[in-house]
Amino acid sequence: MELTRERLLDAYRRMRRIRAFEEKLAELVTAGRLAGFLHLYAGEEAVAVGVAAHLGDRDHFASTHRGHGHCIAKGVEVRGMMAELFGRSTGTCKGKGGSMHIADLSKGMLGANGIVGAGIPLAVGAALTAKVKRTGGVSVAFFGDGASNQGQFHEGLNLAAVWKLPALFVVENNGYGEATPTEFVTPVRDIAARAGSYGIPGVIADGMDFFDVFEKAGEAIARARAGDGPTLLECKTYRYFGHYVGDNLAYRSKEEAERWRQQRDALEGFERRTAGEGWLESGALRAVDAEVASEIEDAVRFAEASPFPEPAALLQDVYVSYEET
């Protein structure tokens, strides 16, 4: 797929939207305006957006507890997302899912997920639907390094490989499973190496570099669409905030975090590359920044002005066929 100016601007807009959304959430929690468990995606933007740039609404994402970035990359509206985080009836899930369950099937977004590794078989199932119904769709599971030690990872990859499903498994290796460094709990240095057990390609990308993720995800997605089966794509990345908002970060040094932010930042790297190549001028990017900033402010205003769900919603949608009483 060719990266036209329009596509580049769109990718930058999505990455900036994720960054701004997450920074706003951190601010809202700190100010006591927002409650709940929030796991922020800031730092990892190039992964979700680099993959999503190849996909449309017929393609599916299954996500993780750190799911806001995948939602935004997949095109879920930020007004609905923000209202969801505020628990309002105008939220993407009418306020009943919250941060860890934002989903929008109309955008092919199968949901964030509160269970580590659980999105993987869901994506495998969506890929099975694509194959049986011949939709031409591809299904992507995002998950962390921690999830690659879960049974759902191994069972999901095995099943997708043996059935040659149109799936892509994207492991976002950010170096930590909650507070525990990856090497304490994972005996392989590269999680991509685990692909070998399932007879599928294992590819490593720089998860801080949109262009590297874009290129490698593109190859894997083309392979999946051609009926050649799944790929495991490991993106080496870093989360700027802790495991959740409020994490005291006692397990990692300030210097490490500073190093990633200053030397590897995905948005700055994108800007350097596009400016250096003469693809995008900084004025265009600053205009995007301003638009995104006002979008996020608008989303917060929309959310705070929205009503909470009515009490009747408590028992709605437990079942399709009847309502609990």
């Binding site: 306020g95 869901l122 199932g125 890929a127 119904k133």
Partner: protein, 336 residues
């Protein structure tokens, strides 16, 4: 036209009808094709499920829709949830309900909750067929009646038929239902016969059946224990006691109205279940009677269940484990 079929044949017939009438129905599970389609060895049909419930599906509907899975319950049950969420109508076979132990997350945290968590903007039309219960000397890890566990989870439905006709009609209803349904097949009656209507018909989920009318005492059963109740009712009739038998059929939704209507007629109730007594369907029905039927009760609710113990292997012990006609009769007599 009705003719006699084995319980397992009735299930097989329902699967054929469901797959023929809806191209979105796919069947996944261990050995469901069972090695069918090995043209290099001249094999077209093979096992068709460990109990034979999926026989002939592979030949009729092909490899795309009838899929042998790895022995990997969490993986294929999870995939079935994802497939259901995106437009297929999967029927998954979990060979024995005990195996949910390695596959619980897709059922507990995904299938049951996705619709609610997504604000009603999703459906999970999934059917999980699974074999339950004691009676085949299969010991502690292949004999449990865990339907009380799945019935306790909001968002899941759970049914357990007691005869071949209900097995066919309830399975067709379960497959066509837009909610996830756990469909329990009691192994002790899988190879017993009964009349089954031909063609396409459904039995509604959430409706109990009156298996025998009576006026002195209500015996409530589920799956195999309906037959225990019917035998007990026959013995009681010889003593001049008229027993009514309610076949729950659905554990979730539970047809509480049918139970209470029967209690209103008899004033006395015994609940018979093959599962242990704690936090199970017998306790649930007893609580229902206490909550909503207290004024109807002429005697305390009695439960005849398995003990709070794993299912033993030794035939001598397994026969002590499961509820018997003698225990039901004793319970009724003690009620006075």
């Amino acid at each position: 036209m009705a003719r006699e079929l084995l319980f397992v044949q009735a299930i097989n017939e329902a699967l054929h009808v469901a797959m023929a009438s809806d191209p979105d129905v796919v069947v996944l599970g261990e050995d469901v094709a069972g090695g069918g389609g090995r043209s290099d060895q001249g094999i077209e049909e093979a096992w068709g499920g460990v109990m034979g419930a999926t026989k002939g599906l592979y030949s009729a509907f092909g490899a795309e829709r009838v899929r042998d899975t790895p022995i990997s319950e969490m993986g294929f049950l999870g995939a079935a949830v994802g497939a259901a969420l995106t437009g297929l109508r999967p029927v998954v076979e979990i060979m024995f309900i005990d195996f949910l132990g390695v596959a619980f997350d897709p059922l507990l945290n995904q299938a049951a909750k996705l619709r609610y968590m997504f604000g009603g903007r999703a459906r999970v039309p999934l059917t999980v067929r699974t074999v339950t219960g004691a009676g085949l000397r299969a010991a502690a890890q292949h004999s449990q009646s865990l339907y009380g566990m799945t019935a306790a989870i909001p968002g899941l439905k759970t049914v357990c038929p007691s005869n071949p006709a209900d097995a066919k009609g309830l399975l067709l209803a379960a497959i066509r239902d837009d909610d996830p349904v756990v469909f329990c097949e009691p192994k002790s009656i899988l190879f017993s016969k009964g009349e089954v209507p031909e063609g396409d018909f459904t039995v509604p989920l959430g409706k109990a059946a009156l298996a025998r009318a009576g006026s002195d005492v209500t015996l409530v059963g589920v799956g195999r224990t309906v037959h225990v109740a019917l035998e007990a009712a026959q013995a009681l009739a010889a003593e001049g006691t008229s027993a009514e038998v309610v076949d729950l059929r659905s554990l979730s939704p539970l047809d509480g109205d049918a139970v209470l209507a029967s209690l209103a007629r008899t004033g006395r109730i015994v609940v018979i279940d093959e599962a242990p007594p704690r936090c199970g369907i017998a306790a649930d029905v007893a609580a229902l009677c206490a909550d909503r039927g207290f004024d109807l009760l002429d005697a305390p609710v009695r439960r005849v269940t398995a003990p709070h113990a794993p299912v033993p292997f030794s035939p001598a012990l397994e026969d002590l484990y499961v509820p018997t006609v003698a225990r039901v009769l004793a319970a009724v007599r003690e009620m006075g």
